[in-house]
Point group: C2
Chain length 428, copies 2
């Protein structure tokens, strides 16, 4: 039955709809995989096998209700569920049970999806690691903050899971764990009922093993079936691809995924040209960090009260304290720089269907006391652009490396089309 | 003791700090006023006099803790409070007690403010009226959705109250009730812990009787004391004022407040020039309505489940159903139009310190089955600009009329400076 846990969400939904498999069989296969692997991987903040089986039986007995009918989904623990604890990765909220579902959870349930459980988040979706490890090597970090979602999908506990990104919290763990991570244009998938980290940056996205599953989630969240209304066919030479090696990070090691992607795309006939960004973009990571910290400080005042503060990790406290040291005037300057950079990038991105950039600083770092560096993610979170990471191979330690595609805001469909082309080029 | 309920928040805080009055005296005066008037006005969703008095005594016994020390504040019932019910104006959430405070409530408590109670919101801060009436004439609407906050401040139950605006929910009720309503640039005051209506538009703001209290709230929410760091002094002729009568609404009646403001400003030496807006701006109200409805539909799916839907008012259901009929492609077109209009308005607004426009369609309409028309507010909510309404007199029915000032995003300080000049011009 191992093939059941290899299925994409779209394959699983089709098989259930065609009555080739029952949802109970699928859920049982997921639960067996979790039983076997969870003691090592620690991807789950909450899972209740009996409840999952009961939901599966009920779903098997019902008529197919939507595009996700019967698909088990992992929900990052910063997202409210009315029937499961939601602890935001913090002992301050231990046992907290929200009174209602987040909008995205309601949409998943309405589409027939099964909420299998809550996946581990770092503390308040920031940088303090939690218990999850990299499923490819438990001595390495899975990345953060969507650690549990990335590990659970990579390790075949579920076909897909929800993640959130404010800094690099979808792209980085997806790249480290060797799965697809997709952060749509900010504001595309509803964030109601997700604990705010930094409200102007918070974005809901998806971790999966199949690009098909991203268009499935478009159907669930936005009511549009991208597969039924494809983009016009184009020859490779008509696709405008760029690449950019940002002037920060450590190019010699980080660029492996980027170089590999460019090589393979060129091998099958694509032109990949350098994209020229303004020098001012070199400061956008700092703008992001300041803007995020300012908002984080205000959004976590309840948790930062003296009585609760001691339950926070040092790296969370550090961001909050950084935020209290940023003046309102400095915050306004960050907002203005962001607006100007968004206008500039919209202009640049009009010349490209997608721009290839590094996903992360190479393979997942050793150790689990650090979730890795969002250096290649911050600026795209700030600009609100869509970003997608795709696995392209393994690095020197045998761990996955990815490449990131970014595009113009609200041109996500074009980005998904390029991702599909890149996937074909990579898989040969 | 009636003078106590006439004090602005800043005056009250100063008097408490100077030990000229105790907080218990102030809270008692507020509670007496509420006792007397609440049976008519119905501004409060929750108030507990004994708890308020206990908080007042505790605060009187403590050292002054911040700029709001001892000031009673009304909190709109869409904003989470961990010690009071938060029902979002809906029987679906009757008795709901959130597990934590919203960021703005934590900031108010940290600054020493007393949460006196929860003020009435229309259902989910949309258009279905609740029990509040206009304190100037109970046969007329107070406006919505920050109905209770506007009525409570106008009727001297509290010196200030929090409101939220997604469409016209601060400016309209403030104008109808004859108080100051201030919607800062979107994203200025933290919205964490406020029930999302349409996430890309939701803005936290303030209703008060004094412009001083807005700078006080800047100190509470943004840690900046505007009074301590004033803008450079300028002669009236150096202040660049514009006015715009939008090409919608009913100019003959609606423009009273606008005309009065221009007349009085000119009388004291200001030049007020017409502001020219692109013809395309005439469609921005429709763009706003569609974008809002799309997001509202997704954000209220939990409440719109068949089991709960029957508890919703017809006008709420209508917005949700409108939203489900808007395609994702149409939503993306709205977002693109918004971005283009924001860039265009930023350009126009650079030539002005503020642009005067109508606040509402004249006086509060008769009847309480409708909260009035946000026709003059929608586009500013869409553009994310700061907006402020100031009372300028009374209309033919003896009810208040206001004028609205709008400015460039993140130029709120300049707008507050113009508001102060206008207030002086109006009061002669």
């Amino acid at each position: 039955m191992e093939y059941l846990t290899l299925m994409s969400a779209r394959e699983a939904a089709a098989a259930i709809r065609a009555k080739e498999i029952t949802l109970l069989e699928l859920v049982d296969a997921c639960l067996r995989r979790i039983d076997e692997r969870e003691p090592t991987v620690n991807a789950w903040a909450f899972i209740d096998p009996e409840r999952a089986r009961a939901a599966a039986r009920a779903c098997d007995a019902a008529e197919p209700s939507g595009p996700l009918h019967g698909v088990p989904v992992g929900i990052k623990d910063v997202i409210d569920t009315c029937d499961m604890p939601t602890e935001y990765g913090s002992t301050i909220h231990r046992g907290h049970r929200p009174s209602r579902d987040a909008a995205c959870v309601s949409l998943i349930r309405r589409a027939g999806g099964i909420v299998l459980g809550k996946t581990v988040s770092t503390e308040f979706a920031m940088y303090q690691p939690s218990k999850t490890v990299n499923p490819h090597n438990p001595g390495h970090t899975p990345g953060g903050s969507s650690s549990g979602s990335a590990a659970a999908v990579a390790d075949r506990h579920v076909p897909l899971a929800l993640g959130t990104q404010t800094s690099g919290s979808i792209i980085r763990p997806a790249a480290y764990c060797g799965v697809i991570g997709y952060k749509p244009t900010v504001g595309t998938f509803a964030i109601e009922g997700i604990k705010a980290l930094a409200s102007s940056l918070d974005t809901l996205g998806v971790l999966s093993r199949s690009l098909d599953d991203l268009s499935l989630m478009y159907n669930v969240f936005c009511g549009v079936d991208l597969a039924a209304d494809p983009l016009p066919a184009r020859e490779p030479r008509q696709v405008r691809l760029g690449f950019w090696q940002p002037p920060f990070g450590e190019p010699s090691r980080d660029a492996d995924g980027l170089r590999l992607a460019i090589t393979r795309l060129r091998a099958v006939g694509y032109e990949v040209a350098p994209a020229v960004m303004p020098d001012s973009f070199a400061s956008l990571n700092d703008v992001h960090a300041a803007l995020m910290a300012y908002e984080v400080a205000r959004n976590h005042l309840y948790e930062y009260e003296p009585a609760r503060r001691a339950q926070m990790g040092d790296s969370t406290t550090a961001v909050i304290e950084q935020g209290w040291n940023i003046s309102f005037e400095a915050y306004l300057r960050c907002r203005e720089q962001t607006r100007q950079a968004q206008i500039a990038f919209d202009q640049i991105a009009q010349s490209f269907d997608a721009i290839l950039v590094p996903s992360a600083t190479g393979e997942a770092p050793a150790g689990t006391s650090w979730t890795g560096d969002p250096v290649f993610n911050r600026m795209w979170s700030l600009l609100g652009t869509p970003a997608l990471t795709l696995p392209v191979g393994n690095g020197p330690n045998g761990l996955p490396i990815g490449v990131q595609l970014v595009g113009r805001r609200d041109s996500d469909r074009v980005l998904l089309d390029v991702a599909r082309r890149l996937e074909r080029a990579v898989s040969g």
